[in-house]
Structures are given as structure tokens and as C-alpha cells.
């Protein structure tokens, strides 16, 4: 199984990359680590005329803390997030989610930016970024713009990025007394999620100041469970409040039956995982920082 022929460019600077995309963005596919794109090329589901390999661009990999934010470079590999020990207290949902992405070898090469731009509804990072209310920084020849996570994912394999744009960075707001959790049901290592739920909470005393909930594999894109998030704001994390949020999140899911299970099954797993995730996140937020 081999790809159909394509042309290939590997720009060495961001300026060169956006210049190529300005000219040929419509017929091009941008490749970061290639772990989502290359399988599609091999299956010939995707047959672009041009592959723009941004894997060699400098200064786009790594996670750093800056201006109250975490800045995750688009070319940061999953393994860099997974093995970053600082993140385990600073933003535990990130290494936890990274840990369950694909398999160890793919995590060595696949990137956070490539994964979110691929926008697979079964992808993990999208839900995490929705729960974290992250911002996506896109660059084109006309400049830089910021896209809210909630606006970024527009449908299956479709994002708000224009063909002439490249994602450079993801900005994640950091708050004190906050933490998250990622729960994923997969059939085996390397499988996409049957269902996964990202939960992030910010505590204010014994109350939840703010909650973020993202859902994986239960819609045509990663979903943000807004009603469930709102229901928690200002509430104590009692069993009742958590159960209500879980119920609302399950109601917001739009699962489809497939070989992994019925829609009812997936909806109920959303409920179970929101409950589990909230309990873990609250405990972590109280315990840490």
C-alpha cells in the first residue's frame, strides 16, 4: 500500500512556509509529524498535489510557561508532553491525555499541532483544548491571528484554518487551583477512543469557579459540553452537582452506533467519564498548587 505521487516541499523558515501556502495552499496538505497524513496518503484517501513538510521549521517545538499561559508549539511531539514532569502538577490533563494517544512509537513522531489540525472527531487533543479553553495561533503571509478552541473545530477533519495558514502555537490559560483529567475508553493500545472525556476545573475555595468539558468520538467533531460546564460554575462539587453535569454532558453528546457500540452505550460512557473526571480533577485541584 503506497501513496499516489505528489510534489514535496520542506520549507526551512516560517516565512517560506506561508509563502508556499499562499501560492499553492489549495492543492497542498501541510504535514508536521505525518502520523495522521501518511496513513491517509497510503490508503490513497488523500491525494494532494503537494505535501508541505513543516517538520523542519525551527522554534515551533516545546512547551513553555509565559504570561500566565502555557505555550505549546505546534511541532511539540506527544511524547514531549507525556514526559514533561512539570506539567503533571501545572496542567495534569496534558500529560494524561498524551499518554493515551496512539502508541509510544507514534507519540515519538506525531505532533500536538498536527493532531489538532487533522481535526479527527476521534482525536484526543481537541477535547482537551476545548476543556482548557485554549487559543490557536495561526500564521499566514498576511499576519497572525488567534482562534478560540470553540471556534477552531468546525466538522470532521475541518478546522477554521485557511489553506494559506499554518498553526504555530496553542496557548493554554493557567489558573491557580485548577486541574483536569482525561478518561478514555479504547479497545486496545493504538485504538482511537470509543469515547473519551476531558475535564478541567478551577476551584475557588470549596466551590468550582469554572469548569471545562470536552468530548471525544461522540459527534462530528470534538464537542464542548457547555450546559454541563455552566451547571457547575459556582457550585460545590457534590455528588448531585457532578451527576447533574454528567447528565447534561451525556445529553450534549451526539454519538452514532458503530462497531464500537450503540449510541446509548457511548452516551452513558460520557456520563460515567464526566463523573469520574470531575472527581479526579477536583481532588487534583485541591491537592495541588
Amino acid at each position: 500500500m503506497f501513496p499516489a505521487a505528489f510534489d514535496y516541499r520542506a520549507p526551512s523558515s516560517l516565512a517560506e512556509a506561508v509563502d508556499i501556502l499562499r501560492q499553492r495552499g489549495e492543492e497542498a496538505k501541510v504535514m508536521a509529524g505525518g502520523q495522521s497524513l501518511i496513513p491517509l496518503l497510503k490508503l490513497r484517501f488523500s491525494q494532494p498535489a503537494l505535501v508541505v513538510d513543516i517538520g523542519r521549521l525551527p522554534n515551533l517545538a516545546g512547551v513553555e510557561r509565559k504570561d500566565g499561559h502555557l505555550r505549546v508549539g505546534a511541532l511539540t511531539r506527544h511524547v514531549q508532553v507525556e514526559s514533561n514532569t512539570d506539567l503533571r502538577t501545572l496542567c495534569p490533563i496534558l500529560p494524561e491525555a498524551a499518554h493515551w494517544i496512539a502508541d509510544p512509537l507514534i507519540r515519538n513522531q506525531g505532533t500536538v499541532g498536527g493532531s489538532v489540525c487533522h481535526a479527527d472527531p476521534q482525536g484526543d487533543w481537541g477535547s482537551v483544548m476545548l476543556a482548557l479553553d485554549a487559543d490557536f495561533v495561526a500564521r499566514s503571509e498576511s499576519g497572525e491571528r488567534t482562534i478560540k478552541a470553540a471556534d477552531f473545530f468546525q466538522g470532521p477533519f475541518t478546522t477554521a484554518l485557511r489553506p494559506d495558514e499554518v498553526l504555530t502555537e496553542i496557548r493554554i490559560p493557567l489558573a491557580a487551583h485548577s486541574a483536569g483529567a482525561y478518561n478514555k475508553l479504547e479497545r486496545k493500545v493504538g485504538d482511537f477512543a470509543t469515547v473519551a472525556v476531558a475535564v478541567q476545573v478551577e476551584m475557588n475555595g470549596d466551590k468550582i469557579a469554572k469548569a471545562g468539558i470536552g468530548l471525544t468520538s461522540v459527534g462530528d467533531r470534538n464537542l464542548k459540553a457547555r450546559d454541563a460546564e455552566k451547571s457547575l460554575a459556582g457550585k460545590q462539587p457534590t455528588d448531585e452537582a457532578i451527576a447533574e453535569a454528567a447528565r447534561l454532558a451525556a445529553a450534549a453528546a451526539e454519538p452514532k452506533a458503530d462497531v464500537r457500540g450503540s449510541a446509548e452505550f457511548k452516551r452513558d460512557i460520557v456520563r460515567v467519564f464526566v463523573q469520574r473526571g470531575l472527581k479526579t480533577a477536583v481532588a487534583r485541584a485541591r491537592g495541588g498548587q
Binding site: F2, A5, K188, R260
Partner: protein, 783 residues
Amino acid sequence: MAATHVHGGIGESIKRKEDSRFLHGKGNYIDDLALPGMLHMSILRSPHAHARLKSVDTSAASGMPGVIAVVTGELMAQHKLAWMPTLSNDTQAVLATDKVRFQGQEVAAVIAETRYQAEDARDAIVVDYEVLTAVTSPEGAKTAGAPLIRDDKENQKDNHIYHWESGDQGTTRAAFAKADKVVRLHTFYPRCHPAPLETCGCVADVNGVTGKATIYMTSQAPHAIRTVFALVTGLPEQNIRVISPDIGGGFGNKVPVYPGYVVATAASLLIGRPVKWIEDRTENLISTGYARDFHMTGDLALDKDGKITALRVHLDSDNGAFFADAQPSKFKAGLFHIVTGSYDIPTAHITADGYYTNKAPGGVAYRCSFRVTEASYLIERLITNAAIEIGMDQAEFRKKNFIRKDQFPYHSATGWVYDSGDYHKAMDVALDQLGYDELRKDVEKRRKQGEVTGIGIASFTEVVGAGHGADFDILGLRMFDSAELRVHPTGKAMLRMGTKSQGQGHETTFAQIVAEELGIPAADVAVEEGDTDTAPYGLGTYASRSTPVAGAATAMVSRKLREKGRKIAAHLLEAAEEDLEWERGRFFVKGSPDKGKTIQEIAFAAYTNLPEGMEAGLEGVHYYDPPNMTYPFGTYAVVVDVDKGTGQVKVKRVVAVDDCGVRINPMIVEGQIHGGLTEGFGIAFMELITFDAEGNCIGSNFMDYLLPTAWESPKFELGETVTPSPHHPLGAKGVGESPTVGSPAAYVNAVIDALSPYGVKNIDMPVTPDKVWAALRAAGVSE
């Protein structure tokens, strides 16, 4: 003395002789072969499960860069090669000419300079299909008005292939009429696939001048394949050389002849250059030998004391578009009638019907001795359900109904003669190793705390090592096997076999048999298999038959040479033959242990200093036709926890006690058991080939056809008992498949035991979280 230097005999866990080339990346698998001028073939396959072929337009493809030829069914038909026989006496399309009958069926093939070019041109072939209604189950196949799948066969008026029976209907019916309790289980053993890590492939090299066809092929049975090729193509058999190189796993997948082999050979013949065809993974999963796909209903009759009085089974077999089961030809449902298992069941009656469907053909024994796996699964699931239904402990119920040690050789209700067994002992060892009584108490305690946990047991009996040849044949070829042993003047030896290892360690195990029987150290015995020009004829390696049949042949040929060696030793020692005694590796004069000749000295003399009139050399061949099958058995026990929230099953422990008779290399035997238990785990929990209503295959790559990784796979605790086979020269039985045959029921029984407090009686494999979740929620259990 000499014997102390001999090592690698039976019972020694010597390291494998074949390892070195694999460890250095120097294995010689089919895709590693590159011949001068070699071309590459890519096959165009049907996207539809059932469609009439209206036209195949190859004009664009033919003109593309690097393309040498495009082969269609029409072209194959001109050479009378559009159809070929299957291993079950049916016919199978090589390239479609009239209809396509399953998704993935071979329609055309491109031969090009590179594989990239072959695939580019393949995508440029334009096929016009008239889509027909697909049949995707036996239920659908027998529906009135169902589309006729095999309209190519003159006398085929419906989709029914065969009806087959075993046992005694009258006595069984009478026993059920008197039963105090009848336990019924309807279960579906789903379609799965052996999925060896290396796909199938070949390099066909037909020499246009000599007419010699050399076909390198991933075949578990190269000799039988050569004969089939001779019959199909009309080429003289001496002009066909099949070479099986190193094989990256087989598990039954590499027994049949696949259309790709035939097309590549025809293409090489037509073009005059070698042609390589290597399946991609999707081709492997959607078109080559699937396994199982049995819909089974079993009834167990019990008396009031919990003794089984009769067994009745009906099954519908989903055989796909062509009846291509790889199995002994006399048995339409394989050896399924071993279904009475380890139990003393006075009477049984089995009926089976096979149906054509619009699914891939195959019916191969995925790490199984011809449908023994389905049989073992059914009886072991039935036994656990019966125990639960009558409120008796699973282990206790089994022990109550086991065939007793003193009943062997045991004549079963379906006509088998079990060679040897001690089922109670294997059970006791397993229960002891598990700490069953304590664990049972723990389960009860944890259940009271709301946990969902259970223990499953399966006590399987297998039937492996086909033949005897009078009963077991494939297309008339009797299921013997062979060994040819040639001892060189320096006392080193070459052993050639009719079998073909796919990772089982034949180069070590068979050398150890020679080491044991002839005293030549295993390290000095080179073992070769897989080249039909050099190896003696054999039926191949599958159905756990290599040790029972070819292993016996090795012992017998070694003994033949030993007897010639006795004559030579007598000559060298100037002693009478009857005055010589044998110890491993050496003859010596009775009463004078210092006066002796080693096998190496004898071998040298066989070429240099023979008794007057004796034929030179020390070599021989033995074709072994086993008098009976061997019947390995064992008890497996599995402990599981179930997550009430998600339905996920966690396998906590697996205890596996196997009795395969005498173990030749215990390390290799244990390795086989580990592997089989893992494949059994995969089948029980994740491996599945399924189809949607249109006949689209789901499970067509490794993202959908799930194989367990190290992370999911359980750790295994092995135990053993040894009950030698009385008729095998070494007392050995087959083992490679026992764990795949026995373990699926143990895994599922553990889940059913865990869910039994909620009245759950069955979950069909694979036992996935959604099915367990549904069972829990239906019982009102949630998180």
C-alpha cells in the same frame, strides 16, 4: 563417555538453532527476495460484495509508466485458469469473469516494474458493476428468494452447500426425552482471521527455456500446493518447484492456494520474467482464509444428579462465496464432532449445514485442528452454563462428568478413540495452582461489596495429528508426513522434512529427536524444510500435526539408521549384533562398556569401512502414517474483574495446565502455549471480522481488526501434567493449538460467571465493553 557429550535430547530446553538469522535481520521472508528482472503485481479487488461484472476496461492502465501487463479474468479464461479447485472440492474464481461474490474478490491484476507503478495503474482500471443484493449470513442464505450466489454451478439451485451428521439421532432423542434437565446455549463463534504478522505472497519465476516453474511462496504445505498446481496448470509436477522460505507466522492462513499465486505464476509464464506478489494487510484480511463463523445451538441433557446423559448440537456454517475450508475431505464440518470434549457423554447427535454467503472464502483452522476450536468452545460454554443453572460449582460439575483415567482408550459417542488422558489430575493441578477454594470465597465476599468479578474454567480435549491416512486425506492425499535423515561421514547430519515451520522451532525440536534417538548432538543436525525439490513429500504444518506425525517420522527414521549403525558397529567391534547394547550416541559390547563405537565413528565407517556386501552411506527416509490422532488436553482457569461503569473486562489471572504428553523442548512448548493463550485472548475480547448489510467488510485493517498488544495481554501461569500418547513413538502429542482451542471458553466463562448473579447467560465473542455494559444495564447495574 561419549553420551555425556551428547546434548539436546528430549526434555531439554535448548536454545533455538534458528534464532541467529532472525536476530541479525537476516531471515529470508518472501518479500525479502529480489530476483534479477523481477516485476511487481498489484491486484484490483471488488468493492462490492455481490455484483455482475459488466465490463473491465484496462486501456488507461495498460499505457501507464512501468506497466508490463494487465491480466483480467477473460485472459485467464483463455488459458483455462479463470477458476481453480478449492481444498474442499469446490471451485473458486481466480479472476472474476461473470460476477464478484465477495468484497475484495480478485478482478484484475497489474504487473509493472515497481509496486508504486502497479498500484497507480491498478487504480486506473475501470470496472462497470451491476450491484446485486448481498447475502451476509446463513439465515439470509436460506431465506426464500435469497439471491443465488453460485449461479456458475450447474446443479446449484440454492445457497446450501452441505448437510453433515455425526452420532446417533435415535438414542440421543431418547435420552433427551428422559432428561431431568435440559440446558440450551445458542452461540455464535464469529468470523476471525489468523492475521499472521507477515501477509501472504509469492515470487513466481517461470523459466521460458526449461519450462521450470519455481514458485517461492508463503505456504504451510508446499508439497500439497505443488500437486494442486500441477493439477490446475497441467504443468508436469517435476517442473514445478515450490519453495517456502522463512514464514512470518501462519496460524492456518497460509494453507490454501490463493488466486494471487496462480495469477503471478501465469503472469511470469506469459511475460517470461519473475513476478512478485505481496499482499497488503487489507488484502490479507478481506480475501484470504478466515476462520470460524459458526452459528451453534447446543443442548445438554442432565439427570437429577447432574450427570450428563446426552448432547445434541446443530450448527450453521457460513462458508463464504466458495467452499474452501482447508480440512480433511471426508469431514464437511472438520473435526467438530469432538464436541463431546472431556466428558463421558453416552450419546450425542450433531447436525451441520454449510451455506454460501457473499463473504470471503476460507474456513481455515486458525491455530486449530479443523473446527476443534468451535467444538471446544461450545461444550465448555455449555458445561459452565449447566453448572450455573443447576447451582453446582463449575469445577465440581466438570469432575463429575469427566471421562475417568481408567476409561482410556475411550470410545466417544461420535466415534473417536481417545488415546490417553487424566482429566481429573489436570483439573486438580489447575485448581491448586489457582488457589481455587480461597479465590471462590474472595469472589463471594467482593460480590457482596458490589464488585463484579468471576472465575472461568475450561477443560478442553483436542484431537490433533491427522491422519491416520485411511480416514484423513486432503483431496485424496493421505495425511502422512515424512523425514529424511542423512548422516555425513563426520557424523553431522541433515534432516529434511515434509513439514514447514512458521515459527514453531522445527529446526530445534526435530534435531532434538535425532539427538535423542541417534545420539548426534542437536547442534550437529541441520534441519531443512519447504523446498519441494529436496524435501520428502509431506502434507505440511497445521492442525498441530508436525510433532505427532513428522516428529514420529523423525524418530522412526533415526531408529532405522540406528539399526544399520548396529550392524556397522558389530563389524567394527568384531562382535555379534545381539551382543551390542545402545546408549544414547554409542553402541558397546555387553559387559564391556569400554569397548564401543560412537555414532560418529559408525557414520565414518559407513563411508569408509563397511561390512562386506553392505550398501554404503547412512541415510534413510520414513513416511509415517499415524495409527490414530493424539488427544492433548488441559484445564485453563481465568479470573476477571468487570468495570461496572464502562463494561471493560480486566483479566487478572490465567492459569493454564496443559498435558501434551512428552515435551520435546519444554521452552518451545511453553512459548507455544503463551502465544496460543494470547491469540485466544484476542479472539475472546477483540478479534472480529464482521460485515454490514451490504456485505462491506469491517475489520479490514489493523485499526479495525484488533490484535492484542503487550499492554492488554494477560500474564500466564503455566502448569503441566504428562500423560504420554500410547501410540506415538515418543509419547508426544501436539500442543501448538491447545491454548487457542481451550482458552476462549475460559475467558468467556469467567465473564459469564462474573455476570451470573445478574442472570446473564451468554455474551458472544468478542466480549467487548459495549456488550458487557448492555448486560449490566439490562440487569439494573450501573455506576
